[in-house]
Assembly symmetry: D2
Homo-oligomer: 447 residues x 4
């Protein structure tokens, strides 16, 4: 493969950037330069050291130069690939996203994609993305751009809003988890060892974190009848409150049994293709109380833990073991290799709708399957889910469009219309306005 | 005008059918025959007597023959116009529509169009409408059909489902009330006496009872800036709890100050064009409690009053004064005269979408302006409301489509998906299922 | 009616402007000021004198002030209505439009709407319309604008291209002639005297001069079965060569027997709703030779006659008799009166597609029925014609779109693509390019 | 790979069926049974012998059983894959397709896809395809179906018309030839040996034989600037009359230099992606005369040669050499292997439009890229070509739709509307009708 120059915006991150560097190190035939850019330049500098160590530990020193660059435009010069994974605002901002709605009785399990928290997070994040897109347009208009930041759909949409010709896609591993879940079921159903999740072929449709499986095969075998039977089976829905409580105790906030995903299949006709903690935020009736949510085994990530985790990440020191590259579940490097022409990749992608989702307007950022090859990403036409699902997805996509327009035009009235339209909004209008006003203040951007 | 033969399905009604006969009597140059058909043949027979008296009292005896006919197909023979205004099931059925959801905390102000009550009412009503359409197809396929029954959209859709070439429209006076409201404001704003509501020209869009004004003029003057200013004015939203309480006391369930209509303009960008009691049912946050609703001066019609009213209507004896024909607010006779070529009429119509509402799929029953002339009804293209409004209307229209398909195919699973998707549904899924099952039983059709 | 200020762009015209002034004089309750603006200021000045005489002859002096104004922006100041009827370039330009294609074997009957001549005429005309729209935007953005200039669709489209919020419509009398033709048939069929063309209600669809009747009624009677029978009748198509020859002799270039219109109904399923000389230009097989065209009784207007007529018009002296106002077939004043709120009008309009024509993209200028009332013009949803007709209309509309974009962006390559796509283009590509290049030079704008 | 049962309808063909069997023999890890079904059972029986010999010659005897089956339903029993490649009617029918239009001055280079000949061929072929689909629905509804018969689009559409759930696709090698042409240019441009055509990645859009390249890469290098320069270069269009004459002499009817393909890029903005002999039939101006066509180096396949070739094929005796399997340019076996899960394939497919072509209605059979994997074929969203190209493709697709509906409903009037709408139709209407009537008789189905 040819020399590849990569810029990581958010390159100071102790989690995502490090994982990406490990994946690079795992991948034997890539080489080039990684430029770490971060609003916190020290963090980027620290990661340069860690990065070098990764290539050393994995016996791959020299294949990638790791440098840090404070100036965004300089960081983007000559790059083939831009990776964006940032945290918009410090951990204090998340407090407003999460605790204020809770004070008003609105519970969010994640609060970074949708709901009051997702909208406010978008309001902080999007101006950065407008800026990134403008810098890319100026410095490296032909570079490929992969965004990992949430709210994924809106951040990716912001890139296209500011630079419509940008070659960007949004990437997310939630669909992989659904594939893994199905792979485990395949193991049960066919009495085989658990196949790699890549062996499960799913037809997907929707918007990120509110994605849906309309078809699934393994070795050409249609799995939908079996998945449907599982969704119809009453035993699937036994009370998981005790499981949930244990998860709270053990701080396993991210675990998912895909029970909400299955209940959506039972009630609306397509399988949810994201973790239950994400799916529950797009529908009004799962998050009515923790008790209700716990029945599905789902627990909400508490703000206090996020604060602790934030501290932990920043103070993180990596053992040699932790720097050892292994096959990870992220596809960033796979995508890069495919775009560089080394292979082809059939996966899920977040891209402007050109027709792949026929029930959503053109131009909206949608999640569907896609085919990635040498310098090319093409969406695959998704199968239409039942109208009940289209209806829910369209609602969410419309609210995202309103949010994007509101932030782009600095239109607070329209932002409030989006806020009020959110599926999680059950407050009366005046209370909603009160909360909105408080959140506007609380979530103002701060480093 | 030529001799016109009219069949009134639901011709035993003491309210609607009598009003229509009075309108006929008021209109000097119509003549022909009215055939009253009712599932309760005695009621129809009684109305024959009242009808004759109406033409007598108004010095117009002889212009219309009034007869009753028990057999539907015979009743339809040779008719030019079919009017449908029925009550699907007896007053007991309404109990299930209204009180069961209330037990579960779901409040409905009307419960005949949308919400759990509207869906169950549709389930009782639509099989009748499939039957009416089939009879019309067989006996009088070229007759014009006016439907007044709620749920208006779904009943009209049912006619088209069973006989796609039917020449039907749904009629509703809610938009007229909005026009009257605006006319009163015109009087204030321009210091003139209140103009006739027909002088207020509104551009409308949406689905029945969730209709929206996107433009309004009087004498060519654009009224929208004034209406918008009113919607933005904080004084518009003073607490009307006391007004509401008085309304409860005085049983004035139908009064509306259009405050919710205005708040929708403020928050979403278009003026609601139906009474507040209707509008509030399509949005999750007005009906959270009676107290919340009262703030807008809106009161919910209680079930016990409906029972009393039902009795009252059935026992109704008309004084001579009450039979005197005056200019009414219903347009049935105007439409008839226009279809017969005597005049033309620009009004609001509920018809299959041929393109008049660009944000809804073709074929859905939608409300827009229309132009009625000799043997012709043509929709007028509606202006697009803001995306926030499109989003809400599309959601409702999708749920209506799901409901129609579910009832047509007798698909309880799909009906539950519609039920679960309703904006008023805030129960958790299992509670919703419990309520759904109870309502299915309670609202089974009974005479 | 209130004082109305009207600006006529092309106010020096001896034909159209004079007719409009006569119509104004005929209409008793209009009054105000007419500003005549013309690139040939002398012509406008001469028309001031004629205009004054018109109001004098018709005993209506004083109701309208007639003035001429050389400066466009001044001419537009304070106007309620702008009328545009110009000749883009002098009569010499028409030579290129008409004679050059003829040299290459391409015959055009009119050559001002479509075909090579129409495209070149558009190229001369559109820059003016971009300018008019910009001036209107600056000086009188709320004025209503009526365009009569050909190519009608493209000139009207140019107004919207340069000022998307303009309140413009294109007006054309061709549909009226079709109504008159049907009225004459009604007289035969029902043995009545010929009804006024306004009594014939037609459902129309298409683009100007390639408009189609999909429904026609008289007194509510569906006339389509009779019209269809006429179209199927072999006797309808008897050879009219002798009639055509006589027309040539008598210089009756504009006569139409609507035989091509009927043949389109027979072969494609909808009745052409423009004179045959227009319809024949949109389809490849009528204009293959004069002999072929003559069979339908259609003759082509020769260039030499246009030159003579041009001279005649410029030298025209009006007798008192000729200045007498009578009921004309033009609707400009009717539209004005409707927009001023004096009446309402149901007619055919050329406006941007908002959904009235479901088989064409939004935004294209299309011809459909419309409803004109106080300060409002709203399109009526057209019925879909058969696919064969949609196909032909869409082709034409696409070519118009390409022409508009080409002229707007000064893109000669795209203009040639439009030229090559035209239904009348049967030359091989290199000959077509040769003709195109010659026409570009010949039809450059000249006064 | 699992045992695969294949039915070849048209299995008596000496050309196509034999090639498929050779491809099967070349492909080492396929095995199973091939059922040859043909209306000429003897031909099928003869091919059984040849087929066995193929497996013998290639040392692969036994891997595929070859049998012949006269009864269609029996032939389809238990099959995984159906291949359809038939000749609708005997060679006499082609005489009407080709010579009758020629008598009227309409020249066709191929006459099997579009034009008068294509339409008449469709009329003969489609009833067979309705029948095939019904048999497949009854006997093997889950089998995959590959159609090779022309008119490809319409034959494939006929399958879906009669059995909407059929799992069918149409396959064509024309795009491969365009890839090969580009591969040869790549060799020139980059001074490398000619790459395999599979290395050229093209984005395609359109309908079969009127397909277009909107993007092309090799090793991730965008080739479009170079291809565009070639299309703009005057030298590209030097007169090829002498080449053409030599081709006529040497009977090289199928050779193409892709000059018409390039001229379409120059004039309309996208590269034609089929041989010039196909492309020229969809546009009015290439086939005006043989002399005109020859300039592009294109020659028309004469009817007399087709008769000779038909005889030759039927009498064909295969040498051992000719039965040797080599890598062929057909993808039938590749597709089969991909559907069986052995690999994945990115190629061009003809399938119902689900959104892959945004400028054509849903449901139309269109050609786009597609991704074939285990038991799955999914279309890839095509990039929109310029409006000039969309316009031409839409016109053709509409005519195909009209033809399909006409044949399905046995509607001769509609078939004539399609006939009259064809780009090659330049006759006047009465001559067109005369030709149509003669062709109807001449092309009646005969064995």
């Amino acid at each position: 493969m040819k020399e590849t120059r990569i810029c990581i915006i958010g390159g100071g991150s102790r989690l995502w950037a490090i994982q990406f560097l490990k994946d690079l190190a795992y991948n034997r035939n890539t080489h080039g330069t990684v430029v770490l850019h971060d609003i916190d330049h020290n963090a980027a500098m620290n990661n340069v050291a860690v990065g070098k160590e990764i290539f050393h530990v994995n016996d791959s020193e020299g294949r990638f130069d790791i440098i840090a660059e404070d100036n965004l435009e300089k960081a983007l010069e000559g790059v083939d690939l831009v990776i964006i994974s940032i945290e918009p605002g410090n951990i204090e901002c998340r407090k407003g996203d999460l605790l204020l709605p809770e004070e008003y009785g609105i519970k969010q399990s994640v609060g970074d994609t949708t709901g009051p928290g997702g909208i406010m997070r978008a309001r902080r994040a999007l101006p950065f993305f407008f800026g990134f897109a403008q810098a890319i347009k100026k410095v490296c208009p032909n570079a490929w751009v992969i965004n990992y930041t949430n709210p994924m759909t809106l951040c990716t949409a912001a890139l296209y809003k500011a630079f419509p010709e940008i070659k960007a896609l949004g990437c997310c591993h939630e669909v992989f988890h659904t594939e893994t879940f199905i792979a485990e079921k395949v193991s049960e159903w066919f009495n085989v060892s658990v196949p790699d999740r890549r062996e499960i072929k799913v037809d997907i449709t929707g918007v990120n974190h509110f994605t849906w499986v309309t078809g699934a095969t393994w070795n050409g075998i249609d799995l939908m009848p079996r998945i449907r039977a599982l969704a119809e089976d009453k035993d699937t829905y036994k009370d998981l409150t005790e499981v949930a409580k244990k998860r709270v105790e053990e701080k396993k906030w991210f675990d998912s049994d895909h029970i909400i995903a299955l209940s959506l299949l039972r009630d609306f006709g397509a399988l949810g293709a994201a973790g239950d903690r994400h799916l529950s935020e797009f529908v009004p009736f799962y998050l009515t109380s923790d008790e209700e949510l716990w029945k599905y085994g789902v627990v909400r990530t508490p703000y206090w833990w996020r604060v602790e985790e934030d501290k932990r990440k920043k103070a993180k020191v990596f053992s040699e073991e932790e720097l050892k590259a292994t096959l990870s579940d992220e596809e960033g490097v796979d995508i890069m290799c495919s775009l560089m022409g080394e292979r082809t990749l059939y996966t899920n992608i977040n891209r402007p709708n050109e027709g792949q989702i026929s029930y959503l307007p053109k131009g909206r950022i949608v999640e569907s399957n896609g085919y990635i090859s040498n310098n090319s990403i093409r969406p695959i036409v998704a199968k239409d889910p039942p109208l009940a699902v289209q209806n829910m997805v369209r609602r969410v996509s419309d609210i995202q469009e309103m949010t994007l327009e509101a932030i782009w035009n600095n239109d607070e009235k329209l932002l409030f219309a989006a806020f009020l339209s959110d599926p999680l909004m059950t407050l009366n209008r005046d209370k909603a306005k009160e909360l909105f006003d408080k959140m506007l203040i609380a979530s103002a951007y701060r480093v």
